[in-house]
């Protein structure tokens, strides 16, 4: 009885908090659910692909996998900072996708889902925003990054 009650409590806590990874692009702090991140490693050169899909104009090879590069810095109209830059592999709905991020090493945080607020007027797919270390940080919806942009551009 006591054990069942404790498990229920733990499940509730798990539901009420999200582990997120905090990273930066052009000095802008962003977050992503850790379950949407496949990994972070050093950036490797990408090769350009002629493309009219917004912000998807390169591919790179990681181990034996070829994946598209999403140019998040261009979308946010900022310039990547630091050296060496890092590569975030997102678990996108269409398959793994590489994103170049600042050299700052990402950190892990846990956020209270009740504290997540809708992001207003943003130009990026988010799950909302949350206060982390006195800063409002948007939680990027990595799984559907670029999808609404495509919808808007083609409608």
């Amino acid at each position: 009885m006591l054990r069942a009650s404790r498990e229920k409590q733990q499940a509730q806590v798990a539901k009420q908090s999200w582990p997120v990874m905090v990273f930066s692009v052009g000095g802008m702090k962003l977050a992503a659910r850790t379950e949407d991140v496949e990994g972070v490693s050093s950036w490797t050169e990408s090769i350009p692909v002629p493309s009219r899909t917004p912000f998807v104009q390169a591919i790179l090879k990681r181990d034996n996998h070829v994946m598209p590069v999403y140019d998040l810095a261009s979308r946010l109209k900022c310039k990547l900072q630091g050296d060496p830059l890092l590569c975030l592999i997102a678990r996108h709905l269409d398959g793994p996708m590489a994103i170049c991020i600042d050299a700052d090493m990402p950190s892990l945080e846990t956020v209270d889902t009740m504290a997540i607020r809708p992001t207003g007027g943003g130009d990026i797919e988010t799950l909302g925003s949350v206060m982390i270390a006195d800063s409002e940080v948007a939680i990027v919806a990595l799984q559907r990054l670029g999808r609404s942009r495509l919808d808007v551009a083609t409608s």
């Binding site: 090769i47 998807v56 790179l60 269409d94 398959g95 670029g146």
Partner: protein
Amino acid sequence: MTLRGRQNQTHTLLETSSFLVVRLGDSYVALPADGVHGVFTQEEAGKEQAVTTAGITYQPVDLAQRLSVVADLSGLESRTVLYSNGRSHGAIGVSQVVGLTDVERKDCLPLPAQFQREERNWIDGIMLYQDQLVLILNPSWAVGELADIVPVAVGQVGQITAATPAAVDGSC
């Protein structure tokens, strides 16, 4: 399984396509080898833009510009590839002719699904050659056709992705 069945299976597994791999700047691209009519040095191609040989005029194609890459086409290794898809004939300037290669169908990778627009008609797939990523170009796009395709509507993206060879098993 019969012996005949095994033979057929082996034949299918070894299905290959031949490509000419060329370099433009830092980018490597491949063209189906059956469309290659010749490879000229700059001297042989002459200073004229179009190249006429064996009664066929090959119009100049600025493939580097179409690929949005910076390429030096005046180096010692630069060449002009005479290419035809049967309808259009192009003289394609490249930084280097890297080589001819046979690629098994299973080794041709599709363009990732995140690429959702006209580029799916331009690029037939991706392959690895000497540890380099190589874009397999649609010959029609490479010689200057397919330049002005109407943008894809949202509802059609899935249909086009499904219909493009890159989305099917093997892309060659």
